[in-house]
């Protein structure tokens, strides 16, 4: 490959990247990006929720994954959601439709508490 061809290839690549970036800037793509970034993951490790507090926008889905060798639950203190028992590697998701603060705990090990803040 000659030096000129390399330059042409680089230029072409730059154009492609520019187009992609432009697409990413369009409203529809931006909305997708925003919602996927807004969803949150909470890991259950060593009898604790991590992070203990997650802040998400209205409409976001929070997914909990139990990574302990012991079953846990994710139960809203206000009775809004109840994961039922989640064994090792099992997940639970809940989509928050309204703004507010949602404290929750593990009903099996109630010292385990966490909070979802929906803004």
């Amino acid at each position: 490959m000659t030096g000129k061809n390399v330059w042409v290839a680089s230029f072409a690549a730059a154009v492609v990247i520019a187009i992609v970036l432009q697409l990413a800037g369009s409203p529809s793509v931006a909305a997708n990006d925003q919602s996927s970034a807004a969803n949150a993951e909470v890991k259950i490790d060593n009898f604790s929720f991590g992070p203990q507090t997650v802040t998400v926008p209205v409409g976001a889905t929070v997914t909990w994954t139990n990574r302990d060798d012991i079953p846990h639950t994710v139960v809203s203190t206000d009775g809004l959601f109840n994961s039922k028992v989640r064994d090792t590697d099992e997940k639970f998701s809940y989509t928050f439709a309204k703004a507010g603060t949602y404290p929750y705990y593990c009903s099996v090990h109630p010292k385990m508490t966490g909070k979802v803040v929906v803004q």
Binding site: F47, D68, P71, T73, T88, P110
Partner: protein, 325 residues
């Protein structure tokens, strides 16, 4: 018994005697012990031995009767800490059957199952049938009430019980009370007995002579061992206030998968080993999760070190001695 260990016990007793609390004695020992404990009620004073201990000279001496406590079978658990919890439960039952001093009954202090599944309870029932002691008294652990508010447990083991499964019975002059402190747990709290059960307990004990030996058993410890891990019961103080007037009170718990003991006044507290897997000593690990030990040491942490309670003078003394290598 190694002198070091005795020194440590003496030192602990000394430390605790200086804490300004009026106690006959205070014992604390955390040693991996038998998969169950044998209790002998002798003149109202319960004496326990790890059940694998050879009774030898003590066999048949003095005790009016004995029973065995096993705990935390976690049938259904299959993680590395013990891939075959059914086998270790069967080992525990075989050891009970091999005892020269036959226990009148067995008490299981909860977490029969891992996930409250019917198949897990079936397996426990099948293994229990192998026990020569036919009567087994149960209380539920939190693992037995994971679904349907414990309906599955209550249908199988809670016949004739009150509320979420509490009850009492008399045996040869002693009064036994099985309590449930794993139901309706509150966010941020520990174990809980609840108002209804406490009222029932007060009523159950009312009118009984103070000389009646009382045995309370429940899954989560009825004394606060380690709040950070939820190892205690929020309203146990009230329950214990009802037994203060009795001359001999023994409190048997499980949940923490290790032996701990305390004597406060006339009340002796004990927690039992698991038949399934060990858990770490309080605060020595990031969490209370199952503790993995090398496979060739599992039997050792479940069943080899032996703990005896020996009445000596004004306070109890504890001797722990390994049964073998």
């Amino acid at each position: 018994m190694p002198n070091k260990k005795q020194d440590l016990i003496d030192q602990k007793l000394q430390d605790l005697n200086n804490d300004g609390v009026d106690r006959r004695g205070f014992l604390k020992c955390m040693a991996w012990a038998g998969t169950g404990l044998v209790w002998t009620l002798s003149g109202g004073i319960p004496v326990s031995r790890a059940f694998a201990k050879n009774y030898g000279k003590d066999a048949g001496k003095g005790g009016d009767f004995s029973f065995v406590q096993i705990s935390d079978s976690h049938i259904g658990f299959n993680k590395p800490a013990n891939p075959d919890v059914t086998a270790t439960l069967e080992t525990a039952i075989n050891k009970i059957n091999a005892m020269p001093h036959k226990p009148d009954f067995i008490i299981h202090t909860g977490d029969l199952s891992q996930l409250s599944k019917p198949s897990e309870f079936d397996t426990l029932d099948q293994a229990s049938k192998g026990a020569s002691a036919k009567q087994i008294y149960f209380v539920p652990g939190e693992h037995d009430m994971l679904t349907d508010n414990g309906e599955q447990y209550l249908q199988r083991y809670g016949k004739g019980t009150k509320g979420t499964g509490w009850y009492s019975f008399d045996h040869k002059g002693a009064h036994f009370v099985g309590l449930v402190n794993v139901a309706n747990l509150k966010a941020g709290g520990m174990g809980s007995l609840g108002h209804g059960q406490l009222e029932w307990l007060e009523d159950d004990l009312k009118g009984r002579p103070a000389s009646t030996p009382i045995v309370l058993f429940a899954h989560i410890p009825l004394w606060t061992i380690y709040p950070d891990w939820g190892w205690g019961t929020d309203d146990s103080e009230q329950a214990l206030s009802y037994v203060k007037r009795f001359g001999s009170v023994t409190v048997l718990n499980g949940h923490i998968h290790q032996i701990m003991q305390k004597v406060e006044g006339k009340v002796s507290f004990h927690t039992a080993m698991s038949t399934a897997f060990p858990q770490p000593a309080p605060g020595t690990a990031p969490s209370a999760g199952p503790m993995k030990v090398p496979a060739d040491q599992l039997q050792r942490v479940l069943g080899i070190t032996d703990v005896n309670y020996v009445v000596s003078g004004r306070s109890l003394a504890i001797v722990d001695s390994p049964l073998g290598a």
